[in-house]
Amino acid sequence: MTRLNHIVRFLASNWKLTAGLTILLALILFGALGPVLISEEQLQLGAGGFTKPPTADHPLGTDTSGRDMLALMVYGTPVTLKIGLIAGLVATLAGVFLGIASGYLGGWFDELVRSAADVMMTIPAIAVLVVISSFTRDMSIELMGSIIALFAWPYTTRAIRAQTLSMREHGFVRMAKISGQSDLEVILKELMPNLLPYIAAGFVSAVSSGVLASVTLQLLGLGPLSKPSVALVLNLAFNYAALLRELWWMWMPPTVILIILFIGLFLTSMGMDEIANPRLKGARAK
């Protein structure tokens, strides 16, 4: 009970995080519960007339190949979320491992990780992603997420490394070392719990940049083509000049869902930052 109270009070004190998580949860539910109402058959080509405006049968109309737009949104939203989640997860795992190791151990390993991260950060991810995905025409969702993570790990690694570095000199870490704990114990028992807010903040921003990268690629017509994703539907709308032809139901639903998704990620990210860097909270002149 007190724990619940604690959580409620915490969420009330950080409205950005609360609003952001609520939006993301709503999108997850949209993708999870939608299939109960709309069958996957609606995704088949020519399922409901070609390029038809909304009717009772197809509340958001159909696209140029006759797929139901609402079904595309319901089945496409989780695809976009999943790519971002995989990218964020891989980048965070790599960041935690490499960041702690290089910050705690230092020496040549630190030098190596830092140089690799510096080089990777200088290469614009989108350029290499375009090359990779234009050669592997139809990749899996997992592969795309992992490739995107390849360019996100330097950021998480750097953030975790910096925190590890400053924490390493704190009294409680020295104390643990003096009392005979092994390096692994110090890392797991002393550093990890204190790094958690930073790891969580890094995870959220890695997911955000993962979603952004995947959406950008798919709007260019790259990435997994076998599963419909929200961004791929919008790419189709671009290709068919949906704006010019006044087919508003083709471009508006994916645009709106993507805007909602990015606002949710942004608010969550801002809320996480306030936890990781409390000084930013309410940063406005009194």
Partner: protein, 334 residues
């Protein structure tokens, strides 16, 4: 000026390493993909149009990739050609060189994006700083806050919404392109005005989307600066609020912003591919988009290489000039 020869050499070496990595990725990836990329390319080309010069294209591609030579020789030649910016001929516009097409598209991209980046940097920095400054009137702070939320929405979504509202619903601005169809490209007032009118929407979308990020960036730094002792001293001396804001607070809080600006200028080409697609502008981004649609591999590789080089170059410049901007940073030792 706080730079040692060793440091400069290391930075330049780093720049070369980045370019080398990018060229190597360009070399390796086509070779990792199963199947013969040349046959794939030709098959794809045959789908979209009749190919009469298939033999010439095959030969050209074999020469570009030097596929008959041993692999290490292929690699050496590829890296050398990359450094000379020779990526062979475009498949889409066949006998034209990749480099020529990129050069032709470049001015549009840089013209639009450098302007909008500088504009949103200037405005965003000032607005973000005022957001946390205690001399700012309350109403102004309330007015400024909503702009930070533009940081949430990526520029291309903002662009779609703007395009719909201003060009299709209200019909007050053109729907795309750089000039009215049929207009003669010459240095007349009418033509320049026409182009500028076409630039309003894409520029507004890019600038607004960037604005929020600049505001958030300076806000964080201003919060740190506001507590500094030298500001209290400036107040104690009785300096005007305006002077303290510009000369003492903003000037010091701006350093990380300048870093980001240089990086952002390096990223303008890669960061705005979709704006050119949405507004059908003839820049690098649109060229890349069409090359992807056509699987014009030499073109794709050439453009992505330009993207990498421009970012790496701006980072190099930054590293070499930063000690001048911020005297606290010296690289004379280590």
């Amino acid at each position: 000026m706080g730079l040692s020869v060793g440091y400069v050499i290391r930075r330049i070496a780093m720049f070369l390493v980045v370019i080398w990595v990018a060229a190597t990725i360009n070399f390796i990836i086509p070779r990792l993909v199963p199947g013969d990329p040349i046959q794939t390319m030709l098959a794809h080309m045959a789908q979209t149009e009749r190919i009469e010069n298939a033999a010439a294209i095959t030969q050209e591609l074999r020469a570009t990739y030097g596929l008959d030579a041993p692999i290490q020789e292929q690699y050496a030649r590829y890296i050398l050609n990359s450094f000379r910016f020779d990526f062979g001929l475009s498949l889409n516009q066949f006998p034209t060189k990749v480099g020529d097409l990129v050069l032709r598209a470049m001015p549009w991209t840089i013209g639009l994006l450098a302007t909008t980046t500088l504009l949103s940097f200037g405005l965003g920095t000032l607005m973000g700083a005022l957001l946390v400054w205690r001399g700012t009137p309350r109403w102004a702070q309330v007015m400024l806050t909503p702009f930070t939320f533009f940081a949430a929405v990526p520029y291309f979504l903002l662009a779609v919404v703007f395009l719909y509202l201003f060009a299709y619903v209200w019909k007050i601005l053109p729907t795309g392109g750089v000039a009215t169809a049929g207009a003669k490209a010459e240095w007349t007032l009418a033509y320049v005005g026409d182009v500028l009118q076409h630039f309003i929407l894409p520029a507004a979308a890019m600038a607004l989307a960037g604005l929020g990020n600049w505001m958030l960036g300076i806000r964080g730094m201003m919060v740190t600066t506001i507590g500094a002792d030298y500001l209290n001293l400036a107040y104690a001396k009785g300096l005007t609020d305006r002077r303290i804001f510009f000369r003492y607070a903003l000037r010091n809080a701006m350093l990380p912003q300048v870093t980001s600006l240089v990086i952002a200028l390096g990223h303008i080409v890669s960061g705005a591919i979709l704006i050119e697609v949405i507004f059908t502008l003839p820049g690098i981004g649109n060229l890349l988009y069409r090359s992807i649609g056509f699987l014009d591999y030499p073109m794709i590789q050439g453009i992505t290489f330009v993207l990498v080089v421009s970012v790496a170059f701006s980072v190099l410049l930054l590293d070499l000039f930063y000690p001048r901007l911020d005297p606290r940073i010296t690289y004379t030792r280590k």
